[in-house]
């Protein structure tokens, strides 16, 4: 492997890892703050991708489509939390598993009802459709760089939100002691709605920005869900910092494994997770 190819794979790995972080951060936030195990999180990624396709087709603008999709996803998250999830806080994890599996079924059905089962694609927006020449022979598409940068910006934003704002303080407080937060006169249910809505929006946003580089197919949500669970568990459930490190790790390991050992590439991520859990049974950054 010469240096240019190595560089391209490294960039691919980083970009994939950052995208995984965007999805996994919502998952880990919802689990850490609300104690909800949301198996339908992958479906939100799928919904984001399909919405982006739909709106881009009808508005002729990827940016407008992306914004509309994000707003709709946020609304969807709030509605789901207000109607279904809010009834399950006092129930055990197994009921949450059952409910969210039911939601996966519904979203998959709606997807095939509304948009069919064909593989769809979104064109890369014109402004970002070029590529950068790394060496004489190897070029790297601008859009992938844009995805990586956007994810980094969002990650930084999330970091600032959680560590520097009042809302972030409440989120951290809710994570460590929810009764105490309620005793201090904070409406914890509203906090939960915000967190869940934000989690859904992050997943859908990941779906939106990956729409031009990934094919939009039925079942894309489940695959991403499992990978994100791997990320969240490696990082330590509920830890955003852990999710960030783990997502980059999984992204790079997965990308290099499919280049270096194509025969066993699908297993490598799971082997990584098993090894890490054997050394640190609670993940890398558990609280």
């Amino acid at each position: 492997m010469d240096f240019a190819i190595f560089l391209v794979q490294l960039l691919n790995g980083l970009q994939y890892g950052l995208l995984l972080f965007l999805i996994a951060s919502g998952l880990t936030l919802v689990f850490g703050v609300m104690g909800i195990l949301n198996l339908a999180h992958g479906s939100m990624y799928m919904v984001g991708a399909y919405l982006a396709w739909y709106f881009t087709l009808h508005t002729d603008s990827f940016l407008l489509g992306a914004l509309l999709s994000a707003v709709i996803a946020l609304a969807l998250g709030i509605v789901i939390e207000k109607t279904l999830i809010c009834r399950l806080y006092k129930r055990n994890h197994l009921d949450q598993v059952l409910l969210t599996i039911g939601m996966i079924f519904v979203f998959n059905a709606l997807q095939s009802l509304l948009w069919g089962n064909d593989s769809l694609g979104v064109d890369v927006p014109e402004l970002l459709s070029g590529s950068i020449q790394l060496t004489e022979l190897v070029a790297y598409p601008v859009y992938r760089l844009f995805v990586a940068v956007l994810c980094l910006v969002l990650a930084a934003g999330l970091y600032l939100l959680i560590n520097r704002t009042r809302l972030g303080m409440l989120i951290r407080a809710g994570e460590s002691n929810r009764e105490m937060v309620e005793c201090l006169g904070i409406d914890i249910n509203r906090l939960y709605t915000i967190v869940f809505g934000a989690g859904v929006m992050l997943a859908a946003l990941a779906g939106v920005i990956s729409a031009p580089i990934a094919s939009i197919v039925p079942g894309m949500g489940e695959h991403v869900l499992i990978t994100c669970f791997v990320v969240v568990v490696i990082g330590g459930m509920g830890s955003i910092k852990g999710a960030f490190v783990a997502a980059l790790m999984v992204g790079i390991v997965d990308t290099f494994a499919s280049v270096l050992f194509p025969a066993v590439s699908s297993m490598v991520v799971y082997i990584l997770m098993a090894v890490i859990l054997l050394i640190k049974p609670q993940g890398l950054f558990s609280n």
Binding site: L94, L98, A109, S112, V230, V264, M267, Y270, A274, P281
Partner: protein, 320 residues
């Protein structure tokens, strides 16, 4: 009488006679007999998961690995062009699965809760990709059984594996035996210690019991029976494929078990029957059967707080 609970007795007295009589009405219809047999086989699998999750508190999302292994193990150890003895190979498969479960159990039981869910999933996924990527085991398409085993015992052939009605009754008997087995386990001293382990592991440790060992034994038993179910499934249709090991198989088994009433053991049969029945009905109504199925699952979580078994038990209690 091992069936101590009133509702459970009622269920056993209604379900098993009904299941015994059903083929009489369906004599001509092999399709339905086969469908029902599959439900019975899957109920054996779900029951083992129900014991593990509901009675031991060991939540696994990788149980399908053993279900799939039950089928694949047969290919690994049986000669391709020779009919082997059913009973001997049943024994072999259960023992090998138990040994694998012992090794896996030593690793996964180090963790607990959500981490155990994930590590069992990881190991099952590794196994899934191993079989679906391998050339020797037919990859994604799976493998066909060329010679079905011969079922004679001491020179007497009780039943024929190729006769759907024989096989139906054999699976029904297996299911009843499994139900009785789990009830016996739970009624024994071992079962009561297992209850203690589930409710308060620390206190049980303080009382001088080796919690890890009890969990390991439970894990091995449940995995061996899951493999037995997978083996029966492979024999029924004469093929195995990696989707038996997929996480969706584990997921749907978990749904059936929760639906039936986690930890009630007989609820596993109810859950499997109701889920499979609804699946069948919706699938025939619309190609988008996932929609009514998903809505039904959501509604059931909201209505039944402890599954169908819990719902019926409450109802029986109230009528007293």
């Amino acid at each position: 009488m091992i069936f101590t609970n009133k509702t459970e007795q009622l269920f056993v007295w209604i379900f098993f006679p009904l299941a015994l009589l059903l083929p009489l009405f369906l004599e001509q219809n092999v399709f339905y007999i086969n469908k029902l047999t599959t439900v019975l086989i899957f109920a054996i699998f779900v029951m083992s998961l129900d014991y593990l999750v509901g009675r031991c508190g060991l939540i696994t999302l990788g149980h399908s690995m053993f279900y799939g292994l039950g089928g694949y193990l047969f290919f690994m150890i049986a000669p391709e062009y020779e009919a082997v003895n059913f009973w001997v190979y049943t024994f072999y498969i259960c023992v090998i699965a138990a040994v694998i479960a012992l090794l896996v159990g030593v690793i996964v039981l180090r963790t607990s809760g959500i981490y155990m869910i994930m590590i069992t999933l990881a190991i099952a996924q590794m196994c899934f990709y191993f079989f679906s990527d391998s050339i020797h085991f037919g990859g994604n398409d799976g493998l066909f059984i060329l010679m079905k085993p011969d079922t004679s015992l001491f020179g007497l052939a009780f039943f024929d594996l190729d006769n759907p009605i024989h096989f139906y009754y054999f699976c029904l008997l297996s299911l009843f035996n499994c139900l009785a087995f789990w009830k016996l386990v739970l009624a024994s001293r071992f079962g009561r210690i297992m209850d203690a382990v589930k409710n308060n592991p620390d206190r049980t440790t303080a009382l001088g019991y080796n919690v890890f060992l009890f969990r390991l034994i439970s894990y091995v038993m449940a995995s061996a029976l899951a493999s037995y179910a997978g083996y029966l499934f492979a024999l029924q249709y004469g093929y195995v494929n990696p989707s038996m090991m997929s996480w969706q198989t584990s997921g749907s088994a978990l749904v059936m078990s929760i639906l039936g009433g986690m930890g009630s053991i007989y609820g596993a049969i109810l859950g499997t029957a109701v889920y499979s029945g609804l699946h069948y009905i919706f699938e025939h109504m619309t190609e988008h059967w996932l929609l009514p199925m998903g809505l039904m699952i959501i509604a059931m979580v909201m209505v039944f707080k402890s599954g169908i078994a819990g719902f019926i038990e409450n109802w029986v209690e109230r009528r007293k």
